[in-house]
């Protein structure tokens, strides 16, 4: 019986072409921020299982180590630190000779109605969601750390266009990042460096959980036509944009919101 199976498998040659080759990330070094939980964690796990070598970043040493231990393959690195601090960003930039991709998944959400959205709140949102990714990107480009064919993928938010109540600080910071990405894509297209963004709707993550009673996840899932969205629903979209399968896509937005925004005038 075992003899037969050996003969069978060796006589059947692997198909020359299966259409999904370009979704594989082997030989690519990818920086994943926000990798200790939520969307970033799901993206890191999927990128590694598709063969990428990763540098992962997050603030919690314990949780980041747990993600690192879970990654398929070897040679991955982790760098603990807050991306609003220059030292963290420089450490990430120096961690690899060249990057083929960036999955910027770090972000923070806090809600405040406009009446309460004071300067401190706005500064905090801008600092985490706009200035940190913008500063990291600028240094990657300035230090020539991006390989030709590199793909920069940022997780933004449907909120940047939907602008729900109490999101003025958060939505504006994500909108600022989206505008930045579109300029970036335009300036670096000729070098074959791509920049795109994924805009998720309400995803079941620790970030949304942290908002506590301000956002009821069950209610949001009910409002979402396709139901509850998990981090693992976002990761394949990020991977598609990181991979050579999307080599002609830049300056584009991929909305993954289970149809939540269909009824909105964005």
């Amino acid at each position: 019986m075992s003899d037969t199976s050996i003969v069978n498998t060796s006589s059947v040659s692997a198909p020359a072409f299966n259409g999904t080759e370009n979704f594989v990330l082997e030989g690519r070094t990818i920086l994943v921020t926000g990798a200790s939980s939520g969307i970033g964690k799901a993206v890191a796990i999927l990128c590694a299982s598709l063969g990428a070598t990763l540098v992962i970043n997050g603030r919690s040493a314990e949780r980041l180590q747990a993600v690192l231990d879970q990654l398929y393959g070897t040679d991955h690195q982790m760098i603990i630190g807050d991306l609003t601090e220059v030292d963290t960003r420089e450490a990430l930039i120096e961690a690899a000779p060249l990057y083929d991709g960036l999955a910027y998944c770090a972000g923070a959400a806090s809600l405040a109605p406009v009446r309460m959205a004071n300067e401190k709140h706005l500064q905090q949102m801008l600092s985490v969601n706009y200035l940190a990714p913008a500063n990291l990107t600028q240094r990657l480009l300035y230090k020539k750390k991006l390989n030709t064919g590199a793909s920069l993928v940022y997780v933004t938010a449907l909120a940047s266009r939907a602008c729900p109540s109490a999101s003025a600080g958060y939505a504006a910071s994500k909108a600022a990042l989206e505008s930045y990405i579109r300029t970036l894509a335009l300036e670096h297209g000729k070098q074959n460096i791509r920049a795109t963004y994924v805009a998720p709707g309400y995803v079941d993550t620790p970030m949304l959980e942290s908002l506590g009673t301000m956002i009821d996840m069950d209610k949001q899932s009910e409002l979402t036509p396709m139901g509850k969205i998990e981090s693992t629903d976002i990761a394949p979209g990020v991977v598609y944009l990181l991979s050579p399968a999307s080599r002609w896509v830049t300056r584009s937005i991929l909305t993954i919101d289970g149809g939540l925004s269909i009824a909105m005038r964005l």
Binding site: G19, T20, F23, G189, M226, I229, G258, S261, I262
Partner: protein, 254 residues
Amino acid sequence: MVDNEITPELVAATLFGLAGKTILITGASKGLGQETAKYLAAAGAKLVICGRDQQRLDETLKSLLGSGHRSIIAELTDMDKLMNVAVECGKVDGVVHCAGIRGLSPMKLVSETHLSEVMATNYTSPVMLTRHLLAKQLITNGGSIIFMSSVAALSGTVGVGPYAGSKAALIGVMRPMALELARRKIRVNTLCPALVETTLTTEDRPWFDEISKRYPLGVGQPADIAQACLYLLSDASRVVTGTVFAMDGGLEYA
């Protein structure tokens, strides 16, 4: 056992592959529809390919990897026969509407006949074909429908009025459809590609070469569209619906 080892290739083929799915693809006898058919078949889908030209459709059918593919010769603008196409097609897990024509004409020269022709092929046919498939319960729960729109629906260029209108109409019809089908977990999305290199678009070489310069990443290849379809048809995009996805190589809008 080595054969069962999980490899990156296997992960990609599983997540973005189409094994076990049957997909209907129109406009499969040439251009991006033909190339998309090749990718979908390679990724494990059983295809029902649809087109007008028997010979070219046969060629496409022969070029497909895998087995169990079928072809339907049909003039999709013939509304009387469209229901037959749906019946002949049978149950599917996905539909890619690639059939389309160009509708180039400056506004002052647009005729009602031309406008109707463009709307019939680019809008009415894909919408009514989908309608018939839905009415006959031929699209399985969890399925995926892709309309081929265009960047012409998102940004303006002179001389493409009839075409742009028909492609924008697809975006309009997609949204209610996506909402209506969400209960059955069927997704509906539109792709909006800019210039893709096909026999049709390269007929006028000097024009093509000149306009290509506006694309930082070059003009698109049919394979680029095919791979976007793989993402949108596979379970990788389980919750992606109602989206307008632009693919334009970073086209610098003048």
